[in-house]
Amino acid sequence: MKIALIGNQNSGKTTLFNLLTGSNQKIGNWPGVTIERKSGIIKGTDFELNDLPGIYSLSPYTSEEAVSRNYILDEKPDLIINIVDATSIERSLYLTTQLMELDCGVILALNMADMLEKKGLTIDEKVIERELGLQVVRISALKKTGIDELIEKIKVYDGKKNSVKTYPQPIEAAIEEVSDTLSDDNNKRFVAVKLLERDVLYNIDSDSVVMSCIKALENRYGMDTEMMIANFRYDFVGEVVSKAVRQEKKGATITQKLDKVFLNKWAALPIFAVIMCLIYFLAVGFVGSFTVDFIGDLMDKLGVIVGDGLKNLGASDWSLSLVRDGIIAGVGAVLGFVPQLIILFLCISVLETSGYMSRIAFMLDKVFKRFGLSGKSLIPFIVGSGCSVPGIMTARTVEDESERCATVVLTPFVPCSAKLPIITLFTGTFFGSLGWLAAAGMYLMAIAIILVTAICLKKFYFKGSPSNFISELPEYKLPSPRYVLRDVVEKTAAFIKRAGTIILLCSVVIWFLLSFGWNFKYGVDIEDSILASIGNCLAWLFYPILGEWSWAATVSAIQGLVAKEQVVSSMAVIAGLAEDAGGASILNAAIYSFFTPASALGFMIFNLFSAPCIGAIGAMRRELGSTKAMFKAVALQTTIAWVLAVIVAGVGNLILLL
């Protein structure tokens, strides 16, 4: 049996999906977390469950609605579980009235039952069951109540459907009349209503039965049918709610109290700034770099121990070098950043699940509107500070098409977690005790680049399209420790896995290319290695930034395409092979001695803001919808990064001369 999980955004679909299938999909307390269909098998059964994007309606306009609607119409699930946020039942049941028009059976899961009492709501689900002709189960996906009953209801579901009349007689008659003209037997009532609504996905002939019905109804009710049908649906729902729901007046809720502070006219923006600085200081600043030094020392020791161990075992020179200078140096260089990433992932996860994310969007929408973006663009940016790939995908929460595309192109400018190693390495080495300032400067620069580029995109590319901001403000929720923990562990594991696979492989390849010349003899001077000659061919690209023909920096920067942390890994392997005595930092190696603080800054800027890694480029391609648009975006990003890097390095060197 194929089951579809459908409900409003933020109604708890993914929480229920994870619970029923035992998987760990992403949840967040802001509308629009789920953007693609995910399927799984309900534990203990053979039912296939499909989690669909959260929607408010089956209208033809938004991409999420299209995904859900196409799934229902084309894949014909056997059953829909309509998950309803019981605390905003009236708006939620509006979608239910549309699902009821399908041939498919519907079970209503009344979620967030645990919140009802707090909000002073009492709901009589028997009344809803009777009025809607559906089975209703009261559940809490968070507290795991009512789940067994829900599964039981699914198991005994017999495919029977009750028909309930939602509209006044004249409209019902028109629906009947239109469905009689339909040749396709599937979802007749649904299609008839869509036709009457003048749904843009259907063609309507001007002299058809449909058109005459529309005209008659519009004359009768004095409004267009789209509005009319929305009105009557809400009227119907209002009737049901007035019979089934009782609301006691309660004092201010916790959310209202918190909003008095977090959305306070004067305090809101300072509080936001403090929260962001705090996250920054924890993840990137003081605390983060401390842990990096610590692990770096450990890795150096490990290198020595393993090196000695292998020597004692009588390992050959080259295998010793491969393990110590290739694998441990390359992989170790990025593993050192794990604690820092854990802190960053933790902060983002808490932001996402607490409900504050939507408030950030709400707060700053006015500012971002000026720059041709929506307040909701901030959500991808913040998610993107963890990883650009999910950041780019969450750009779908931005409704307006051109704002969404702009957000996709701009998200990679936010330094992601894989770029942290680059920032920490360069600022730590060249700016000493002022390193934190340079690192903070990188984030501010990212914001500046995003805003300026956004304006330019709006001016020259996405001209004058109207935009909007319509969003629900979810309740604040205490982040579930179990979920946050799982989320952080999963993301960190992904990073470590990358270190153990892609980075490891690259380190080995780099080691080979460095240890062998074109004559394929081991042990050439690295200046004569294959990698050096490749780098020398391309070094002109970076000469304007570095003021030096450096093949080592060149090949490392290019490897950023594989994964941004690979830049650091590659520089470490090269440094290690270039000289045996390792300095305090990778960048102290003689091969990098040409770096001045200014050129280091320029080089870092290029690496942070140029084309993102392959993964993110792929995500951009999917979201922009064409390879051409993707290439344009990558070219734009790389050009901006390069020009900026050259300017900063040039101006910086001038200042250093003074």
């Binding site: 109207p466 901001f469 319509i470």
Partner: protein, 87 residues
């Protein structure tokens, strides 16, 4: 409409004219953008619905309104397309 003018009970105007704490009944909405209009309808802003302006964002826009038992954030420019009668 002038910024400091407060609509009185029974007066008609646009949703964007309401002050924080005021309640009003929606009379009509007119919007050239079909997708946006439909979205506003889908979110429950239909004829006859009662809305209350709860709070504005710290910078004054967008605005948070309560209707049908939930809270919706919406920009003033969209609210200007919604006709209301103050309750």
């Amino acid at each position: 409409m002038a910024k400091n003018k407060t609509l009185k009970k029974g007066e008609r105007g646009h949703l964007s004219d309401l002050k924080i704490g005021q309640r009003a009944k929606v009379i009509d909405l007119h919007n050239d953008n079909a997708a946006l209009r439909r979205r506003i309808l889908d979110m429950g802003i239909t004829k006859g619905v009662v809305v209350e302006v709860l709070k504005a964002a710290p910078l004054g826009d967008p605005v948070d309104i309560a209707l049908r038992g939930y809270e919706l954030c919406i920009r003033k420019s969209e609210m200007a397309n919604i006709d209301i009668e103050v309750l």
